[in-house]
Symmetry: C2
Subunit: 585 residues, 2 copies
């Protein structure tokens, strides 16, 4: 390819493409070069005014727009979009993302190594370049939840053998790492021996414990980026990967003056489908960083060449000779909305629409039968607490929720006992059913683990989801046991997804038939389904700033403070089970 670039410059072959009249963003000098961009064989051959004789197979007028390197997302999860890679690619290419490092830990919790392999195969040979990362922490809270897989050293090695897998995905059980847990350290060592990229997830450690985590070789983090944490991580040699929610004026001001710029980058982590459609992808973070005061050329660098360096992709991240022709043309450097997106020198998106139709990948048949649960009845959702005869009230643990965050408070409260049963009026039940099947035959079960949520007094009906971090067990929220059973059974019928039920009627549903976490439908279709689903959520009276996050996170036993898994109620700070009923009197 490089040879062909030389031949084009010396006039022995035409350039494949010349984009005339652009303002080229040079990420090395943080400056603008006016001129043209000439491409041969998918590689940039020349930038600047072409002051020598040449021919070109195609010439495009850049009309004075900026030519920016394609955005590179150094840490993200495709499954957050709930879209299969092909459809996801179409959406994000239109936003200017041309390379992503994807950690498929959601689907791996359901399908194990086969899930990673399928995502790698499904993501190969697209104009969106996908680097697959091997999920490292499955389940996220061993012993406190059950998922479809359990990953140790041997499994990590198996994942790293899959073509397209370039590194170890975020190591999430930071307390176990810093505490010297042999199993998790074995996983890291397996990856470290391969010399691959090692990603971390380390919100809470500082001091010696943070250094212990770093000493394992893991050298990137995308979690807590409050200023003191970001400073400490940078000083310890971490690459800091800043997601949208951590962008702040003081962080921007700090990183802007930091002497070693190349370990700072912008990433997306999780972008739910609705946000993706409304606000965009990595370009939305770049836009936000600029709005917070970062110089546009520096913000672009954080989402291009710096991410490329982190991912050890030496062939991209710059509009400069020798680099892949992944190029965005945009009118201004504040909105960060590409008019034209080139991948390997080919125009793949224009004015927010993808021009290329990606081939549909055929997932393994068993991925479409991933909800191994027997049909449920109302009584399966009944609380069967053993209370002393004659008790009038009981002290119970609840997930103390509010309408803003997904952080729960570990609260206890006294509730009445009527007819020997807990009276849960004013509370919302959550039932979590292990859905990955028992034994090698994946025999279905119907064991419901129940908890209670406080904070949604207006809720009435039921909401069910098979997308529930990270184990993706079948999770049902509700006030009416009949509705809860109906919602759960509907998901059994459609092979997974989300649905809303009230008074026995399915009000809305979002089918996610691939492993219960992905759809293969079109973005337009999904947008309609989500629209209907959110209207139904509102009608059910669940008021929350981010209902999707809320519904999918009440099962995640690694985030504070109390969660409900398929095994029981978990005090996630103490990493132990707590009983629903503490005492009765």
């Amino acid at each position: 390819m490089g040879a062909d670039c030389v031949y084009s410059i010396i006039g022995k072959k035409p350039f494949d493409l010349v984009i005339k009249n652009v303002k080229i963003v040079n990420v090395f000098t943080e400056s603008i070069v006016e001129g043209d961009v000439a491409v041969t064989g998918g590689v940039i051959a020349y930038i600047g005014p072409i002051d020598f004789p040449y021919t070109a197979n195609e010439e495009i007028d850049g009309a004075g727009r900026y030519a920016v390197p394609g955005f590179i997302d150094a840490h993200m999860h495709i499954e957050s979009s709930m879209m299969a890679p092909a459809r996801f690619a179409e959406l994000v290419l239109a936003c200017g993302t041309t390379t992503v490092a994807a950690d498929p830990h959601e689907i791996a919790n359901v399908c194990g190594a086969a899930g990673v392999r399928a995502m790698a195969e499904a993501s190969a040979n697209m104009p969106l370049h996908v680097l697959m990362m091997a999920p490292s922490t499955i389940p996220s809270a061993p012993g406190l939840e059950r998922s479809g897989w359990s990953l140790g050293e041997k499994e990590m090695e198996e994942l790293l053998d899959i073509p397209g897998v370039a590194g170890m995905g975020e190591l999430m059980d930071f307390n176990a790492v810093a505490g010297g847990d042999e199993r998790i350290l074995g996983v890291v060592e397996a990856a470290r021996r391969r010399g691959v990229i090692l990603d971390g997830h380390v919100p809470a450690l500082t001091g010696a414990r943070l250094q212990a985590f770093r000493a394992t070789g893991v050298d990137a983090d995308h979690t807590d980026m409050s200023l003191p944490r970001a400073k400490e991580k940078l000083a310890a040699g971490f690459s800091i990967q800043i997601q949208h929610s951590f962008l702040s004026e003081d962080l921007i001001a700090y990183v802007d003056q930091f002497p070693l710029q190349d370990r700072i980058m912008l990433i997306t982590d999780d972008v739910p489908f609705v946000e993706l459609v409304e606000h965009g992808h990595l370009n939305a973070n770049v836009r936000r960083a600029i709005a917070l005061g970062l110089r546009p050329l520096r913000a672009i660098r954080y989402a291009t060449i710096n991410a490329a360096a982190r991912l050890r992709l030496y062939d991209r991240g710059a509009v400069s000779p020798g680099y892949r022709a992944d190029i965005l043309l945009m009118k201004d450097l504040e909105k960060i909305e590409p008019d034209m997106v080139f991948s390997d020198g080919r125009l793949v998106a224009e004015n927010g629409r993808c021009l290329v139709r990606m081939e549909k990948y055929k997932f393994p048949e068993e991925f479409y039968h991933s909800v191994h649960v027997l049909p449920l009845a109302a009584e399966d959702f009944a609380l069967k607490a053993e209370l002393p005869a004659g008790a009038a009230e009981a002290l119970i643990h609840v997930l103390g929720c509010n309408e803003i965050t997904t952080r729960t408070k570990n609260e206890t409260r006294w509730i009445p006992v009527r007819n020997g049963q807990l009276d849960t009026a004013g509370l919302v039940k959550v039932g979590v059913i292990y859905r990955h099947g028992y034994g090698p035959e994946k025999a279905p079960g119907k064991e419901v683990s129940l908890g209670l949520l406080a904070g949604f007094p207006a809720f009435r009906g039921a909401l069910a989801t098979t997308y529930a971090h990270d184990s993706h067990n079948l999770t049902v929220y509700g006030t009416d046991e009949e509705d809860m059973a109906r919602a759960a059974n509907r998901l059994l019928e459609i092979g997974g997804g989300l649905c809303a039920v009230q008074d026995g009627e399915v009000l809305a549903e979002v089918p996610l038939p691939v492993a219960g976490v992905l759809t293969e439908g079109e973005a337009d279709e999904l947008q309609e389904q989500f629209g209907a689903f959110f209207r139904a959520v509102e009608r059910l009276g669940l008021r929350h700033a981010n209902p999707m996050m809320f519904l999918t996170l009440m099962t995640l036993a690694v985030s504070p403070e109390i969660k409900c898994t398929d095994i029981g109620l978990v005090d996630t700070l103490e990493k132990k089970f707590v009983p629903l009923v503490v005492e009765a009197r």
Copy 2:
């Protein structure tokens, strides 16, 4: 290893080593942290004041010295030192160099792929970590000289298969690259397909020709770093590797404020043995950069973490948890003289002396028989120009030399003809004899290619060398043909090296029996030999600022302006042969 670091921090295992009471240079923040450095399994586990209970197998008092990362040399040639890797390692470890990327293109010109393989084997498993680069341009001037090998695409692939080879060494025939020469482009493509590091050597290209060179994927240069050249290369995405001779105040001032700091580094390229002993290794460049105004912590970064990033060595370049414990302790940050050098956590040098004795590598037997030349007689060095009968004078090409540089002027001058022969009084003859053998049997020859040097009127005697860039043919300088034959024959006897002869007597010699370019002797011994040799050079009347450079570069057909190879006199700017005698009258 990482796991053991964690165990040491949590008190489950002792640290292997704790260096107490040091000022730790943090290359990420460009700041100093006071405290301790704790090491386990050759990896840094913790830095800073150890404020938790711990045990250590060994504890050293750093006595308030600076703890600096071991220096990493991203571009160099071991053969410049004329020492075998084991002895070279002992010398440079004492200077604080703990990792080098070595391009063995000198020995490869003599021994081909076997030379690269031998250097890789000889350099394995030493406390000096050696990354081998595959030489890419052999011979350096195809068609204008003959060496012991000729490298094309197939040979590059062969080199890249050698264990320990990490990339393509400096691509030197930049004009051929920018001119679209298919053979050299095939070599680059072979390396590019492997995705390895691609080094360049591109002093003279600018504009579209520089971009053409860069478009091949080659992205580092260590040649001309005059300010405009350095600026253009940085803007084109090159890593700039600054050697001692290009360090200047204006370059330092420019790079200091450059926004993308990670592509700037200090390297040594060639450090002849005598300079190495007198001034040091990469530490001498760091010292010089600081003397020219660069902040010490930034200069250190250019010789540590930046070089590591270039070499894709993610496990070194910082005194920080997770990094290899390659650590220098030094009293100040101006002299850059390490008192103690640790490699992988082991003390390997102290007060300028290496404490470790490296095992001698057994080079293949044929490396000791690399001078395939028949014994020479005085008449072999006689000029046999065919002059017209009765000519009184002749116009000849000479290598116009001076006492300062190694750049020659392509001059012509009239000299007298006496008895039908050129009268070369006042000039010095240079005779170059192809020494790599003819045919698969490597049959010896004795064909002498002759040239004349102007600029050394006081010279009397003969100097011979088998170390002569880059083809390393047997090269003899002299005014007396008997002495020239004696000097040449002495090198045949000792298997190569350098020697000085006057009035039939060998005044001094430096044996280089390995491929005629390396010795396996001790540094002390070599220092004595060089001392004697330079005294002899002076006695012979060759006055030059750098006689070693001068003697070994008059054969290099890729540096300006006129040189003498084994085939003939070469106008190196026009890349063509020129006759010794232009005309006679």
